[in-house]
């Protein structure tokens, strides 16, 4: 019952929020919440550390930006097509990397993401160092004008809720159960007659699709897509968000994403000092909150109630 009350509260807050808080900030949080969840699906539920996750985010930003700018496609189609394209890229990356685990997987994904980075730097449609600028916010279904921040917020909100629902479903599905088993003991899963790499490929496909949706939305929110979106910096940020919030919890990385976006927003006024403060926070988390914010809260307050 409290769960439904909590959902209802969230729904009310989500609807009222853009009238109180700057919508761009809210949309940034939503994009990164989806992105962090996609990363969590891999690291938290399949045990796969993807070091180049920004390639799906950044490439999708370019794709959706290009479609919004140069085609007549409506905004939701641009988002969906970019996400599907990234799912395909994720599948391809999976074919190459899924046989490996641990640090090898991390290094292969990093290498592929660097390759994609330079490919897009050279590609004719990305605008090189300038990136894609002045991306328009095409009408929803080709009819409804969503060029205002508040209108776009609701589009992004609906897509984000659907993405998180899909993430929740994947984790709590027959597939998710086998995936978690692979995370715990891959050899054992194989000895039970499964081929683990197939599950890892599907996990990477789904995760890349979700990350792609996040990137596609981001391009419409900021109306710009640049190489920064697929840089290693973004890949690193998403790892930080996940660890800060709490690996292996569903909500942890979402909370971590929101906290980092808010922190960056607050710290922007301090210029260079922002990075130093961020580093200090990261250190503090590693030293004192090893399970992450949500992980620690869960461990301290929820366990006695369970037993």
């Amino acid at each position: 019952m409290t769960r439904y009350a909590l959902f209802a509260l969230f729904a009310v807050l989500a609807v009222l929020a853009p009238f109180q808080i700057y919508p761009i900030l809210l949309m940034t949080i939503l994009c990164f919440v989806v992105f962090a969840s996609s990363f969590n699906l891999l690291l938290g539920y399949a045990g796969l550390l993807c070091f180049g996750h920004a390639m799906f985010f950044g490439t999708a930003a370019y794709l959706s930006g290009w479609m919004l700018k140069h085609t007549a496609l409506s905004i939701e189609l641009c988002f969906i097509l970019a996400a599907l394209a990234m799912a395909a890229l994720g599948w391809l990356v999976g074919l190459i990397s899924a046989r490996r685990g641990g640090i090898q997987f991390a290094m292969i994904t990093l290498a592929i993401s660097q390759f994609v980075y330079f490919l897009l730097l050279r590609a004719p449609f990305t605008g090189g160092e300038d990136g894609l600028q002045r991306i328009p916010r095409s009408a929803l279904f080709g009819v409804f004008d969503v060029s205002s921040n508040v209108a776009l917020y609701f589009v992004v909100l609906v897509f984000s809720v659907l993405a998180i629902a899909l993430f929740y479903r994947i984790v709590h599905s027959p597939f998710g159960e086998v995936l978690r088993a692979i995370r715990d003991n891959e050899d054992r899963v194989e000895s039970l007659g499964f081929q683990p790499e197939r599950f890892k490929i599907l996990a990477l496909t789904l995760s890349a699709g979700l990350a792609g949706l996040a990137g596609a939305m981001k391009a419409a929110v900021f109306q710009i897509a640049t190489l920064h979106d697929l840089s290693f910096h973004v890949s690193g940020t998403i790892i930080f968000m996940t660890l800060l919030g709490g690996l292996g919890t569903m909500t942890g990385p979402m909370v971590g994403a929101a906290l980092i976006v808010l922190l960056n927003d607050e710290l922007a006024q301090f210029g260079e000092w922002a990075l130093i403060i961020q580093g200090t926070v990261f250190l503090a988390v590693i030293l004192f909150f090893r399970k992450g914010v949500v992980g620690e809260i869960k461990a301290r307050f929820w366990k006695p109630a369970k037993s």
Partner: protein, 254 residues
């Protein structure tokens, strides 16, 4: 002469070399259907290597492995599992952060074709909960459905692992030192459990504990330096002077 299919599992001239070193050399092994067969030998005799060859975890340098007379040498361990040959591991191979019920359900999904359904809820495989509970009860874990595997005692982890293996209803079970690292009080229940689940199955067991071997196994193969030293019943083997030398004198050789 008996037909080859009297034997559930057979190794022919199995050899595994690492560089110039023969970890396992020309091992011939026949495990009769329905038997509990032990593979013993002093430390470094090649038992685990041999075991890994039989379960396809390692690929043999030469030789063949046959399951029910069918050559499975070229198959992967997942394929072998689907043919009914399932192994356990020396270190308890549970899924620590899954509940006991989930541990079993993963194995049950192996024959269901549900495992890729990422769009369905767990409710869609509710039908597996009943058999999973029954398997847990069979190994003495009734009531522990929602306990995380990591929270179980060592002996109970073993029991959970055996239940997980049973979920595949294997024709042949390969158990790698099922009582390794176990306290005295845990050994008897596991021995009883292995005897209970052996009905209608073939079991090959690698074991250090000779009292477990003597109480469980009809047939024993002794390995030394990667080769078969002798094979027979417990009484035959334990009175063999070569075996006694291998065990007693093994300290000097190694």
């Amino acid at each position: 002469m008996s037909t080859p299919t009297d034997y559930a599992l057979e190794a022919r001239g199995l050899t595994k070399s690492f560089g110039g070193f023969h970890a396992v050399k020309d091992v011939n092994l026949k495990v009769r259907r329905g038997a509990i067969h032990a593979l013993i030998g002093p430390n470094g005799a090649g038992k685990t290597t041999c075991f890994n060859l039989l379960t396809k975890t390692l690929t043999p340098t030469s030789g063949q492995v046959l399951l029910d007379g069918q050559d499975i040498t070229g198959l992967r361990s997942a394929q072998v599992a689907r043919l009914g040959l399932v192994r356990s591991f020396q270190i308890s191979a549970t899924f620590p952060h899954l509940t006991c019920l989930e541990n079993i359900r993963v194995a049950l999904q192996s024959s269901q074709g549900t495992a890729f359904r990422f769009w369905r809820s767990l409710g869609s495989i509710k039908a597996l909960n009943e058999p999973a509970r029954a398997l847990l009860a069979q190994v003495g874990l009734a009531g522990q459905e929602d306990t995380l595997a990591t929270e179980l005692s060592y002996g109970k982890k073993r029991a959970l692992e055996i239940a997980t293996t049973l979920a595949l209803d294997p024709k042949v079970m390969l158990l790698d030192e099922p009582t390794a690292g176990m306290g005295h009080e845990d050994i008897a229940p596991i021995t009883d459990l292995i005897r209970a689940v052996s009905a209608g199955r073939t079991i090959l067991i690698v074991e250090h504990n000779l009292s477990v071997v003597s109480s469980l196994c009809e047939r024993i193969t002794v390995l030394q330096h990667g080769e078969v030293l002798t094979e027979g019943t417990y009484d035959e083997v334990s009175n063999d002077p070569e075996v006694i030398t291998a065990y007693m004198g093994g300290v000097d050789d190694e």
